[in-house]
């Protein structure tokens, strides 16, 4: 959870909630009164510092024992030999129980647990009062059986929630606290109660959240190092140490590992607000990080003996082992799932020329891959949307924004609107976004979306701290009230897991690889095409020369022959010669037309501004050579100026006008109309005649090469004219089509895209 989720604290800016983060909680120079503390020289075992309450016990001022060796202090027999033993042992900073000692004062004998640990400079001996003396002296509870029972339960827990629940229960059974919470930190150190067991004395806090400031950084660090602490009675009066500063270091005593360490006054106040008189917490660590706490509370003061606290620590460690196993199992399962979908997606992409359509046509897999409810594939060719997504325009803007903010690999968020305010309008489809960049040069992304999950978060009280101005200083007080404070969270989705984000990253690599490979293939294909195009060009060139030459010779010699021998030949023989000449001429024309057609496909377009009326007039003049004596009525509108390749457009216009003249040949009066109209995207020119027309069922054949709809005797021709028109239009990004009716005239259209006009 990010910090933006938390309502901003309504405080003057100079007051910093991290005040607690600077509190030196490990050096309070005082202890809680349920025991006594002695700081000993590790060699001489003489007393360097002691808690003031030891004087009360010995009935003389505490400072009177300073400098004395332990054995010289009457009434304190805690086993000199044991102390010697640990003083020689390698430095060990974990407190451990030496033994139970009995100290008599005037009134009665009292038992204490003698607990010792070492620091760099000295030995700390703590005597913790045994409040409820064990029935059998020194008899340890059956730790083995307790841990065994707990481990079994933990192993059966199939989820973190179940594990937390069973742990809370076991700890409460063991210790007898009113309420035991399992409290988990999120990555921002806010806490959530994930397991709870209680007897009803204290209110339930299950699923409540607590702001990170409740357990400030120094406390968290202390909890990480020293895993167990207890406050038997929050209303205690701290007992100071004498002298206040440690004489060996000149600094306050480092009480990080002290079990009696007095806690921060802020914490004591906090506990009072929570109506808990006593508390204990046991840290749960995972991979060295503080995962959470087992937090125990009692409405009345209570104490948990040292050994039992140790057992709680064992439970916490078993918890963390089970937690790791659960996490790993979950991760593993999801990993396998992601992997298998990945394999499938990879296969379909590899088989396809277009990864985008391959992905979007496998919508189920694409969505299941990262458990998304919608996905979009954005490429330079467009946007493919799958499932529940924002609109195409919104996706496009999002992709552009990702690209502009330099997201070139993997981007993920469970609260898109916090970084991209425009997402506010589509939180119901895309509160969560996982995106992978698939291009470095344009806004190419595969995006997955998750919908908003409206969550009501129960904070453990208003997550604001009260701040008070006392004696010229800002003082922070913990919560005054522990009413549940609810907050509804909008614009958030279920967060993406590491597996999903990693899987997406892998898919990205795969796509980039596939796209790269395709690009190489295309480059290769292009090279191939360029080569075969060159070959084709050489081929047509040689056809134009080598095929036309013999045809020319046939015609040439036949004509010379006809001239010289015509008089001697019969009419029939003359017709034979004429047929030779005509056929060869026709063959020559065919070759020429074919060449022209192939040239249309290859020649580079040279754009000119062309007055269509001029072009029509020119074509008219040209075709009228062959139509002398015919009665033709021309109705030619004012035509626009277009931008096109002159040679090509001239050919198209000439072909259409020529056809109109040709196919009206049988009409007494031919009427040929040339008109035009414009749409948003095109300029359309039509050539209408009242000629023989055609059957619309052959309309699609009209524009094919060598397609003829009439018998040769009726209308001669190569069957290439309309194919040329079509090709000219294709080259210009336009189109050609026709309308007609058999015997009732035809209208031919061609359309040039208007964008050409701007060139």
């Amino acid at each position: 959870m990010s910090a933006s989720l938390r309502p901003s604290a309504d405080l003057p800016p100079r007051v910093d909630l991290s005040n607690c983060d600077r509190e030196q909680i490990h050096i309070p120079s005082s202890i809680q009164p349920h025991g006594m503390l002695l700081v000993l020289d590790p060699v001489t075992l003489s007393v360097i510092q002691c808690s003031d309450n030891i004087g009360l016990l010995l009935q003389k001022p505490g400072d009177s024992i300073l400098g004395l060796s332990l054995s010289e202090i009457g009434g304190l027999d805690v086993g000199r030999r044991l102390l010697h033993h640990i003083s020689k042992a390698p430095i060990q900073n974990r407190p451990f129980l030496l033994r139970t000692v009995t100290i008599s004062d005037d009134h009665r004998e009292r038992q204490y647990h003698a607990i010792a640990h070492r620091t760099d400079y000295y030995l700390i001996l703590e005597l913790e009062a045994v409040i409820a003396p064990p029935s059998v002296d020194d008899a340890l509870p059956d730790v083995h059986a307790q841990v065994d029972a707990f481990t079994l339960k933990a192993e059966e827990a199939a989820s973190v929630a179940a594990l937390s629940q069973t742990t809370a229960q076991s700890i409460r059974d063991l210790t007898g606290f009113d309420r035991v919470l399992v409290y988990q930190f999120d990555e921002d150190w806010h806490g959530i109660v994930v397991g709870e067991d209680g007897n009803g004395e204290l209110p339930s806090l299950l699923h409540h959240r607590f702001p990170a400031s409740d357990i400030p950084a120094p406390a968290r660090e202390l909890y990480r190092v020293n895993r167990v602490r207890i406050i038997p009675d929050a209303s205690y009066t701290p007992v100071p140490l004498t002298p206040n500063l440690n004489p060996l270091t000149g600094r306050p005593l480092d009480m990080t590992f002290s079990t009696l360490r007095s806690v921060s006054p802020i914490h004591v106040e906090y506990m009072k607000n929570m109506q808990t008189a006593s508390s204990m917490s046991v840290s749960i660590l995972q991979g060295g990080r503080l995962w959470g706490l087992i937090s125990c509370h009692n409405h009345k003061p209570m104490h948990v003996p040292f050994q039992e606290r140790g057992t709680c620590d064992l439970f916490a460690r078993a918890f963390s082992l089970r937690l790791s196993a659960l996490d790993r199992a979950e991760e593993f399962e999801r990993g396998i799932e992601v992997k298998s979908v990945f394999t499938k997606l990879f296969a379909v992409m590899a088989d396809s020329n277009d990864f985008a359509s391959a992905l979007s046509s496998h919508a189920d897999e694409l969505l299941a891959f990262v458990a998304a409810s919608g996905a979009a594939v954005a490429t330079d060719r467009g946007y493919l949307l799958v499932g529940k997504t924002p609109t195409e325009a919104e996706v496009q803007m999002l992709a552009d924004c990702l690209f502009k903010s330099d997201n070139r690999e993997v981007y993920q968020t469970d609260c898109l609107s916090s970084t991209y305010p425009a997402a506010m309008s589509f939180t119901e489809t895309a509160s969560g976004l996982l995106a992978i960049a698939v291009s470095k040069i344009h806004a190419g992304y595969v995006m997955w979306f998750r919908p908003e999950v409206v969550r009501t978060i129960q904070w453990g009280g208003d997550p604001k701290k009260n701040v008070e101005y006392v004696e010229g200083q800002w003082k922070i007080h913990p919560r005054q009230s522990f009413e549940t404070w609810k907050e509804t969270v909008h614009g958030r989705s279920i967060p993406w897991t590491k597996n999903e984000v990693d899987g997406a990253g892998e898919l990205r690599n795969a796509i980039v690889e596939i796209v790269l490979r395709k690009a190489e293939e295309i480059a290769e294909l292009n090279q191939e095409l360029t080569r075969s195009n060159r070959e084709l060009e050489a081929f047509s060139y040689s056809v134009s020369h080598d095929l036309r030459a013999p045809l020319r010779h046939i015609v040439g010699y036949a004509e010379i022959l006809r001239e010289s021998v015509a008089e001697k030949l019969s009419e029939k023989d003359q017709r034979f010669i004429n047929t030779i000449i005509e056929s060869s001429e026709y063959a020559g024309k065919l070759v020429e037309k074919l060449l022209e057609f192939s040239r249309l496909g290859r020649a580079e377009l040279q754009f000119n501004r062309i007055d269509l009326n001029e072009l029509v007039t020119e074509a008219q003049a040209d075709v009228m050579h062959d139509a002398a004596g015919r009665k033709i009525t021309w109705k030619i509108d004012k035509l626009p100026v277009v931008v096109a390749d002159l040679m090509m457009l001239r050919m198209a216009v000439r072909d259409l006008i020529g056809n109109a003249v040709k196919y009206t040949r049988q009409r007494e009066e031919a009427v040929i109309e040339v008109g035009s109209y414009s749409t948003d995207s095109e300029v359309v020119v039509s050539v209408k005649d009242n000629g023989v027309g055609f059957d619309m069922q052959y309309a699609d054949k009209l524009f094919g090469v060598f397609q003829r709809l009439h018998r040769w005797e009726d209308f001669e021709g190569t069957g290439i004219g309309l194919a040329n028109v079509q090709r000219v239009m294709e080259r210009h990004g336009g189109r050609a089509w026709a309308d007609g009716q058999e015997g009732n005239g035809a209208t031919f259209y061609f359309a040039l895209p208007r964008k050409n006009l701007k060139e």
Binding site: Y541, S544, R548, A549, H553, Y557, E559, R599, N608, M647
Partner: protein, 151 residues
């Protein structure tokens, strides 16, 4: 004496037909025929076989585009680059209407460009026109708006 016409043509049939056509035009000029580009260059520069010929440039060069050894375009280039020959009109004869041939020839300063028609009659007309006013046969450079006569 009239200057001769230099005909550069490698194909014997085309050569014969062209000569027949020229014959029918009743031009008084002699026709000198050479069979490839190298020979044409020799003639024009009075080198090799033609080192002994009478001095003087031809009236017109009828130059086939596709020639062995040195092709027509190269011959054209050499003529137009040589101050003494620049003024000689050159008519390209070609089988193709390939745009790049036309464009290149015009760039090099060809005086006329005749695409050999399939029909002999049209060819005859073209050759006859050449003798009188070859500019009529001019194929315009590609891209111009001027309507061109069909060859």
């Amino acid at each position: 004496m009239l200057k001769p016409i230099l005909l550069v043509e490698d194909n014997p049939k085309d050569l014969e037909l062209t000569l027949l056509a020229l014959e029918k035009t009743n031009l008084a000029n002699d026709v000198v025929t050479v069979r490839d580009g190298a020979e044409a260059i020799d003639y024009l520069y009075r080198k090799g076989t033609y080192s002994e010929r009478e001095p003087g440039n031809p009236a017109v060069v009828l130059l086939d585009l596709k020639l062995p050894k040195i092709d027509g375009i190269q011959v054209l280039e050499m003529i137009k680059a040589e101050p003494n020959l620049q003024a000689v009109p050159v008519v390209m004869l070609t089988t193709s209407r390939e745009e790049k041939d036309l464009t290149r020839s015009y760039k090099l300063g060809v005086n006329a460009f005749v695409v050999k028609p399939v029909g002999f009659r049209e060819f005859l007309e073209a050759i006859q026109d050449l003798g009188v006013f070859w500019a009529v046969l001019n194929e315009p450079p590609p891209g111009s708006m001027k309507p061109s006569p069909r060859m």
